[in-house]
Amino acid sequence: MNKSELIKTLSEETNIPIEEAAMVVNTFVDSMKDALTDGDRVEIRGFGSFKVKDYGGYSGRNPKTGDMVVVEPKRLPFFRAGKELKEFLND
């Protein structure tokens, strides 16, 4: 399922106009993105949580050519599925 299908399904299931369903989905996603961009955690009960991890840069090598490459520091979010989601998937 993709985002537009998600919006359509939400609109049908809750009887709200498609534009409103789109606003709900976009606000939901944007709130999570903004929080993670600020380095905050996100915790959605029953679904899961996200946190951002910081990785320091290092110089490595291209294993194929042996060339030195500089790996820049980066920030990546990690998702952990919540208990309810895990149980839902497995029964």
Binding site: M1, N2, K3, E5, L6, T9, L10, E13, T14, I16, E20, M23, V24, V25, T27, F28, V29, S31, M32, K33, A35, L36, T37, D38, G39, D40, R41, V42, E43, I44, R45, G46, F47, G48, F50, V52, D54, E72, K74, R75, L76, P77, F78, F79, A81, L85, K86, F88, L89, N90
Partner: protein, 97 residues
Amino acid sequence: MSGKTLTKAEIVDAIYEKTDRNRAEVKGVVESLLGIMKQAIKKDHALLISGFGKFEAYDKKARKGRNPQTDETITLPPRKVVVFRLSRKFRAELNDE
């Protein structure tokens, strides 16, 4: 890292600010949304949210494990696990590229 946590209640508030509905209705819509998301991950094994990332469910085989406290060998049953794959766009935004 500011140590703050965004919760469902704050997301409900953000949506509530943009509608004429009451908070209980908005909460209901958000719960429906989460239900649809969970169902999609279970049924389609994938939920793609463009500009954010993709939730993927995959099967893990049964494997032998051990209870570290009792040293007993146990067979862990096969199960489904969810991973989140970050979208390139969001990755770039997080790293100011």
